[in-house]
Symmetry: C2
Subunit: 383 residues, 2 copies
Amino acid sequence: MTTPFSDLTTPALLLQRDRLVRNAHDALARAHHLGVMLRPHFKTAKSVEVAQLMLGQNMDRMAVSTLPEITMLFAAGIRNIRYTSPFDPTKLNGLQDMLRAGLELEILVDDRSAIEAISNQADRLRVSVGLIVEVDVDGYRAGLPAQGDVLSSIAKSITDAPGISFVGLYSFAGQTYRLADRKDRQALIERHRATLVSFASALEKQGLPCATLGIGSSPVLADAVHLDGLTEVCAGVYCFQDLTQAGIGAAQIDDLAVSVLATVTQRKSDDGRIFIDAGGLALSQDRSTRGQSVDQGYGLVCDALTGRPVGDGDIIVARTSQEHGVLMRRDGRSAPAELFPIGRRVRILPNHVCMMAAAYPAYTVIDGDKSAERWERATGWTL
Amino acid sequence: MTTPFSDLTTPALLLQRDRLVRNAHDALARAHHLGVMLRPHFKTAKSVEVAQLMLGQNMDRMAVSTLPEITMLFAAGIRNIRYTSPFDPTKLNGLQDMLRAGLELEILVDDRSAIEAISNQADRLRVSVGLIVEVDVDGYRAGLPAQGDVLSSIAKSITDAPGISFVGLYSFAGQTYRLADRKDRQALIERHRATLVSFASALEKQGLPCATLGIGSSPVLADAVHLDGLTEVCAGVYCFQDLTQAGIGAAQIDDLAVSVLATVTQRKSDDGRIFIDAGGLALSQDRSTRGQSVDQGYGLVCDALTGRPVGDGDIIVARTSQEHGVLMRRDGRSAPAELFPIGRRVRILPNHVCMMAAAYPAYTVIDGDKSAERWERATGWTL
């Protein structure tokens, strides 16, 4: 049964199937071209149907950010799952049954005390997990210092401890999000690649081979010139893309597959403010485009049917409160009243799609002007 | 069955029962003292168990911000429910059965075209709803201009239209959130009160009596000197309180009843950053204390058991990404490493509790150092 747009309750999380299919297909082709495996990150999608499109023929490996994502993927038959968020060892308690039933869990680590705690807990539960050591190449967030002696000492300590095994190295090229010039991103990616390959070679000489040598971020997948010597690229946001990715040129506006459908509900005659029924909860309060050359406020306003920006492409959600959004031009002038009659439906494109999507239990999947399917999302943190 | 803190999976949304009970009780006493009915707003709590504490003996009236909140309250026996968010008339479609089964729905309105659209849809569905006209006294957000001729013209148009009836006036004193001096808040509240009473008197003379004359915001409840002539005060955040309310002096830190339980997972030896497993999704990206005299970052770090601020009370979540939070001192210096061993549990107090709680499907209710109950929340926007 299909539902026309006009019958959907707003706000609703829309997923445009044709754009998702194209993004997922292009990413698999890019990884193939680069000669590495693609490990899709599930932190963005959190939907089995999306995972199947992201994996294509290779239904074997994913990365996740929460425990409910593991449950959803393991139930769908995916065995090799990498946990990339901060990992408290008590999380292993809820994973015991899956680990005994064939779950191959890999955990990203960068702290000696944390590694000992994971080893102790895994040993106590009589389960086994693989550890990937995160290397901090660009100072973006987490990771151990990119120093050979530090890494070989850690790799050896993992190999010697019970309940855990050393699987390889990973670096997250998070600074690619902040570089608006593709050449700068390519230079940074090459620095990550060369660093990882050099450390892996040194570790191998010490009898500590890296089964996996991975790099991450969607811009890496889009922009890398080559990834010779690496085995994997890990990326997630590429399946939907967002305004932050478009702002650095790693995506086009026409690639954006997820948006929030909202309705114009009020217009203020005195100052021209136009209200929609989607605010800080429905859109998230993410402002990742604030530091970019085009500030998209809390999201870019598009036509509900075509998905293309309204008017001159300069109408944004300028302000939010919990359930109210206010539309204005990007320069602070009023949005043209004639474009926004009461009851008009609009789509709001996200700054950061992972944050926007998190407020919804499911996607409303759309094909043209109809919605036909609802795809559940793995929400929250507890099993 | 009770669960000790150490066995909870993190991040988890904690609700400290004794503080909630005290906040709810104090609010009922305040409203009684002020001689008005309390209409608790459900946008913050979204839990039947919390609503019962907020309502006390008066299980009859609530305000809501979403459709799922209506379903939850109506199932619990509450009939008179006011919808205060932007209202698209197609939302009436999903409410038909409840309206025919006794739901008394009141909708906040401030736009002539929107009122016509609600009337048309209600008439088409053969249901009836009450309309409350929102008056913009302080320029905070929505509402019609505070002009007698505008208000009487709107009230008359509501009275004359099918499917809808005129119930009264409401003003949201949102600017109270921005005033750090209680005397300033009291002066603003008095301006709201006097404006509403004067308009209601004029409307009554024109044969348009206000059955309800209401004012909103938790600081109104806490600070009003008197509310003579009004019938209701509407407030929601008071049941849990948050750092934004504490920042203006409308609450104490010891009143805050909701927090996120998180675990220290990593420490960076080079620059002293300490990571927890709660980031922008688990804490929200709300930064409402940024403009206040004490900037609490993404939340204030407290001891897991006592709920009191750690160390000198100056440790905050200084940075977040999707699932990572970074602890630092408020002045940008490193947090003391000895306070944060790997595995330590901490509670993070919220800037804006409505935003933080929204990421969770349920509260973990705590009594002392044990959790015994899980209270479900009404999430999302669709029925």
